[in-house]
C-alpha cells in the first residue's frame, strides 16, 4: 500500500510576526506509517524548518500531542491509514500557547500540575526524609488510583476541555485528576492542603462534565471520573460527613522468632 497523502501542516514563525498559515506536503504513505513518521519524513526530505516535538515514538513520553484532523491525539499513536482520508490536517494543540509550528508551550500546564502538590505528603516527616520501611497499601487501595498514575502529561485533555478553552486560570483536567490521584492514596495525609488549592474560583467547580478529556485521553485514563470523585470528596467534607483518614503506617519488620506451628502461613494477617 503506497499512496499519496496530503499533509496540511499549520506553520507559525514567531520571528516573522505573521499569522499561522497552512503549508501542504505530499507524502508517500506506507502501511503502518504514523503521523509522526509523516512529519519526520517532511523534516528529512521536504522542509527542514518544520518544528515539532517528539521523543519516544511509542505513546509513552507524551511529547507529540497534536490536533490531527480536528481531534487531539498523539501523533505517534495515530496511523495515517486509520484516518481514512487523503488529506490530513495537523495543527498544534489548542488552549496552549504556540512556540513555533507544532510546538506548544507546556510550562503553564506543568505549573498548574505542580500547584496541586503532586507528591505524597505524610505527617511523619522523619520517616519521609529517612525512610526505614515501606508504607502499607493493599492492592484494592492501589486499584482506586492506579489508572490515574499512567498520565503522560501531554496536554491533550487541556485542549479537549471546553472550560480550558476560555478560562486561562482554570486548573484543567490533568491537574484535577492528579489531585484526586494523590488524595485517594492511602499513604497520603495532605488532602486538606490540596483541597484548598482546588476549591477556589477557577477551580474544580468549573468542570461541568463534558467528558471530552476522558474521550480524548490517548492513554485511556479517565480524568472526568477522577474529577467527579474529587467533587464527591469536597462535598462530603463540606457537609461534614467524612471520617478523618488515618495515614498509612509503615510495614512492621517481620519477626525473627520461629513460628510455633511448623506449617508456614501464606495469608497475611490483618492488624486492626
Amino acid at each position: 500500500m503506497d499512496k499519496q497523502v496530503v499533509f496540511k501542516v499549520q506553520r507559525y514563525e514567531p520571528e516573522a510576526d505573521g499569522n499561522p498559515h497552512f503549508q501542504e506536503f505530499k507524502i508517500p504513505a506506507k502501511r503502518g506509517m504514523t503521523i509522526l513518521d509523516g512529519l519526520i519524513y517532511i523534516k528529512e526530505n521536504l522542509d527542514g524548518t518544520l518544528a515539532f516535538r517528539s521523543s519516544c515514538r511509542m505513546a509513552i513520553c507524551g511529547s507529540c500531542g497534536m490536533l490531527i484532523n480536528n481531534y487531539p491525539h498523539l501523533a505517534c499513536h495515530t496511523q495515517i491509514e486509520e484516518l481514512r482520508s487523503d488529506i490530513v490536517t495537523v495543527k498544534p494543540l489548542p488552549n496552549l500557547p504556540i512556540v513555533k509550528d507544532l510546538v506548544v508551550d507546556l510550562i503553564p500546564f506543568f505549573n498548574r500540575h505542580k500547584s496541586i502538590k503532586p507528591y505524597i505528603i505524610h505527617p511523619d516527616t522523619k520517616e519521609m526524609e529517612n525512610p526505614t520501611a515501606e508504607f502499607v497499601q493493599s492492592p484494592q487501595a492501589l486499584e482506586a488510583l492506579l489508572q490515574f498514575t499512567y498520565c503522560v502529561k501531554c496536554g491533550i485533555c487541556i485542549s479537549a476541555c471546553p472550560t480550558s478553552a476560555s478560562d486561562r486560570l482554570f486548573l484543567g483536567p490533568q491537574a484535577l485528576a492528579q489531585c484526586y490521584r494523590y488524595c485517594a492514596d492511602t499513604r497520603d495525609g495532605g488532602e486538606e492542603e490540596r483541597l484548598t488549592v482546588v476549591d477556589k474560583d477557577h477551580g474544580i467547580w468549573h468542570c461541568h462534565l463534558a467528558g471530552a478529556c476522558s474521550e480524548a485521553c490517548p492513554k485511556g485514563l479517565d480524568p472526568a471520573l477522577a474529577i467527579q470523585l474529587l467533587k464527591r470528596r469536597l462535598i462530603i467534607q463540606a457537609i461534614g460527613l467524612g471520617r478523618k483518614k488515618q495515614p498509612a503506617s509503615i510495614v512492621t519488620p517481620p519477626a525473627e522468632v520461629k513460628p510455633k506451628i511448623p506449617f508456614p502461613e501464606f495469608t497475611a494477617k490483618r492488624t486492626e
Binding site: T163, D199, K200, H206, Q237, A238
Partner: protein, 120 residues
C-alpha cells in the same frame, strides 16, 4: 470551602426546581391531557383563576419560594458562565456585585406583588 458551598447550593436548588417547576409546568401547560385524565382545571391563565390562586397563601408562599430558588440557580449559573470567560479580578468583582444587587431587586419586587395581591 466557599465555592463548594455555592455549587452545592446550585445542585440542591436544581433538584428543588425540578420538582416545583414540574408541578407548575404540568398545571400551566398540560390542561388538555389533565382533563383527559379526569382532573379538570379551568383555564389557568384567565384573570379569574389567576386572582383566585393569588388569594391563597399556599400558592403565594410556594411561588415566592420558587422565585428565590430560581433566582439563585439562574444567577449563580450566569455568574459561573461569565467567570469562565476569564475576566480580570476587578471585572469579576463588578460582575458579582451587579448580579447580587440585581437578584435582590428582582426578589423584592417579585415578593412585593404577590403579597399585595394576597389582600387585594
Amino acid at each position: 470551602m466557599r465555592n463548594t458551598y455555592l455549587w452545592l447550593a446550585q445542585l440542591v436548588t436544581g433538584v428543588l426546581i425540578a420538582v416545583l417547576l414540574s408541578i407548575h409546568m404540568v398545571l400551566m401547560h398540560l390542561d388538555a391531557i389533565l382533563s383527559f385524565l379526569g382532573v379538570d382545571i379551568k383555564d389557568p391563565t384567565s384573570w379569574h383563576s389567576m386572582i383566585e390562586r393569588s388569594r391563597e397563601t399556599l400558592w403565594a408562599g410556594l411561588y415566592i419560594a420558587l422565585l428565590a430558588i430560581v433566582l439563585y440557580h439562574a444567577l449563580n449559573g450566569l455568574r459561573n458562565i461569565i467567570l469562565e470567560l476569564a475576566p480580570s479580578a476587578a471585572t469579576e468583582r463588578i460582575i458579582t456585585w451587579t448580579i447580587i444587587v440585581f437578584g435582590t431587586i428582582a426578589f423584592v419586587w417579585g415578593t412585593y406583588v404577590p403579597i399585595r395581591l394576597l389582600s387585594g
